[in-house]
């Protein structure tokens, strides 16, 4: 047996001098040199305008003249404006109905699509298609669906079946749900993909063990699938909520003659901000509305994360 001797540990090549910076410092330097450009970009293009909006909301800036500090005048005006409250209600209607309905439909489709082997990829692609379609194009197609016949498919079908015609986009009660349906349809593809990824991540043995222990389909869903899908669900709830709070494309494109109409019953906050800023050029007021939207987004997101937090 040959045993290593002390001579084996003596280096045969000259020892290199230690570098001036520690290994930690060098790696930090590299990391930050790569991060510098995006960080700079975010500061200039994202964060600065965001913080500037807070300041603008306290001024009467109208693009032309110097911004003048007017305190909380914009906020006073906004909270006294019935149109603002209408918009506020609309936005929350999109959020409160749209989010759970989207989530439920997406989950049901993902749950069953996950079990289907036949034409699985094709079906998945079909469901994903609406997500990659331009919002404006889809909004217009749905707008036509909702028309009276012969253009309107839905009313055409209702007529054929002998039912009465429904006023979709022209009615103050039906317009918002009609637009919401389009928005839900548009987002579904993405949510299905995310849910399916979440479902796939649950090991098969969990289900096999449950089957051996005698749990039925419903018990497996309730006790295993849904709890293990919680991180996915939390992500989607936050993601969908933010999407509904920022809804704009569908509304704008489906009500171009009277954006947010009829009588402002479909107008969301973002559309109001857009009009205030780029039709009325009332930048200070628009900034105040933006701050309100920002606050809502922040509160809703934090609230959801808190409610759905992992208690472990």
């Amino acid at each position: 047996m040959v045993h290593p001797t002390s001579s084996d540990t003596v280096p045969t090549h000259p020892v290199q001098p230690a570098p001036r910076l520690s290994m930690r410092a060098r790696s930090a330097l590299w990391v930050w040199s790569f991060l510098a450009i995006p960080v700079l970009f975010y500061c200039v293009i994202r964060f600065y305008p965001t913080f500037n909006a807070f300041w603008l909301s306290l001024t009467d800036w109208d693009l032309m003249s110097e911004a003048e500090f007017i305190g909380f005048e914009n906020y006073r005006r906004m909270f006294a404006d019935p149109n603002f409250w209408q918009t506020f209600r609309n936005t929350f209607e999109y959020l409160i109905y749209g989010t759970p309905i989207s989530l439920l439909i997406a989950f049901i489709i993902a749950y069953y699509l996950d079990k289907v082997r036949f034409a699985h990829n094709f079906l998945r692609a079909l469901y994903f298609l609406p997500y990659i379609t331009t919002a404006a194009a889809m909004a217009w197609v749905w707008r036509w669906f909702y028309q009276p016949p012969p253009t309107g498919l839905i009313n055409g079908a209702l007529g054929e079946l002998g039912f009465g015609q429904i006023e979709f986009l022209g009615s103050t009660t039906n317009a918002l749900p009609s637009i919401m349906v389009t928005a839900i349809w548009a987002g579904l593809g993405f949510q299905i993909i995310i849910f399916m990824a979440g479902l796939r991540a649950i090991p098969d043995t969990y289900y096999e063990a449950a089957r051996i222990d005698g749990l039925g389909d419903w018990a497996i869903l309730r006790k295993i699938t849904l709890p293990l899908l919680k991180p996915t669900t939390v992500f989607l709830v936050v993601f969908i909520s933010i999407a509904f709070l920022r809804i704009f494309d569908q509304v704008y494109n489906m009500t171009t003659n009277d954006p947010g109409g009829p009588l402002g019953t479909t107008k969301p906050l973002v559309l109001m901000i857009y009009e205030t800023a780029f039709s009325s050029y009332d930048m200070g007021y628009a900034a105040a509305q933006t701050v309100v939207l920002f606050t809502i987004l922040l509160v809703v997101s934090l609230l959801q994360l808190w409610i759905l937090r992992d208690r472990a």
Binding site: E208, L215, I224
Partner: protein
């Protein structure tokens, strides 16, 4: 408790038959270990017994019922999986209690059974923890607890120790064996680790390519393997297989046709001290290529006609690499196999 019997059991995936009509009877309270390399069909067989895979042909009986078409839950069996399959969002107590989910027992009785199982497995201190806060061995015990509370007819284990480190594996082997002795339950246990098979089984079933090669008590299989595969698979290090023409010594052939000689490293003594069987048994010489001092003994690898052979030397004798050594084996310790079929021939 119940017997399990397999009759002409086959499994076909598409066009490929992976289990070729196996027959096996597991007695009530018996601990049977299925062992074999990856893809030999041992897990598939177990999963068919569990009801997780459909039976393509043949019959499975648990007790006196044919269970081919029964759902897993109706078979009254419990299974422990390699990755434990315990639920991360439930506490140890909830995980064990899920085994009783469908049982029609009152709450107190269920709670009592869960407590008892936890106590038996030494989980009482962790009962309100989540699996994330447990070690691998503790998680495996939770999985066993979930199986135990059901008081099933039989336990099925699918490579339950494969995810544990060596030390824990050795400990869990003893625990499972002790548990079996205490509960007296029928156990079908799948592993690719022959040490687990040897140490735990009442009976070992060696499988390869969807066939049962041999079944029997661990020592019977160790002493009388039916073919080269089983001979090399059971026992560590693997049995040396040598073409008889290279072996000098009094070893008779197989009516003229070539034979293979098998000798376990533990029976092949390196050095000069073993003169007992010299001349009558097997005698091999060659240069040492590696040595593995294990403590109680030393494994010596040496080359004989291009083949590496492993022999054993006493702990204190560590031959330097490169030196020529001679090893002897007693004639009674030699296994003879037909060179063509690799089946065992009766020993000398």
């Amino acid at each position: 408790m119940a017997t399990i019997s397999l009759k002409k059991l086959t499994k076909i995936y598409g066009k490929a038959e992976v289990i070729h009509g196996i027959d096996l009877d597991i007695a009530d309270g018996e601990f049977v270990v299925f062992v074999g390399p990856s893809g030999c069909g041992k897990s598939t067989t177990l999963r068919m017994i569990a009801g997780l895979e459909e039976v393509s042909g043949g019959e499975i009986r648990i007790g006196d019922r044919v269970v081919n078409e029964l759902d897993p839950k109706s078979r009254n069996i419990a299974m422990v999986f390699q990755n434990y399959a315990i639920y991360p969002h439930m506490t140890v107590r909830e995980n064990i209690a899920i085994g009783l989910y469908t049982q029609k027992l009152d709450k107190d009785e269920k709670a009592k059974r869960v407590e008892n199982a936890a106590q038996l497995l030494g989980l009482t201190d962790f009962i309100d923890r989540r699996p994330a806060a447990l070690s691998g061995g503790q998680r495996q015990r939770v999985a066993m607890g979930r199986a135990m509370v059901r008081e099933p007819a039989a336990f099925l284990f699918d490579e339950p120790l494969s995810n544990l480190d060596a030390q824990l594996r050795a400990q869990m082997r003893i625990e499972i064996k002790a548990l079996h002795q205490r509960l007296g339950s029928t156990i079908a246990y799948v592993t690719h680790d022959q040490v687990e098979a040897m140490t735990m089984a009442d009976r070992i079933v060696v499988m390869k390519g969807g066939h049962i090669l041999q079944q029997g008590r661990p020592m019977d299989i160790y002493s009388n393997p039916v073919d080269v595969f089983t001979a090399r698979f059971i026992g560590t290090p693997s049995m040396n297989i040598i073409a008889s023409e290279y072996a000098s010594g009094a070893v008779s052939g197989n009516g003229g046709s070539p034979i293979l000689l098998g000798v376990r490293p533990q029976d092949l003594h390196v050095g000069t001290t073993t003169d007992v069987g010299a001349g009558t048994g097997l005698s091999l010489s060659g240069p040492v290529t590696a040595v593995e001092p294990l403590g109680p003994e030393t494994l010596v690898h040496f080359r004989v006609s291009g083949e590496t052979v492993i022999g054993t030397a006493p702990a204190t004798e560590i031959p330097p690499v490169g030196t020529e050594v001679t090893a002897h084996a007693d004639p009674a310790q030699l296994h003879r196999f037909d060179a063509e079929t690799e089946k065992a021939l009766e020993s000398l």
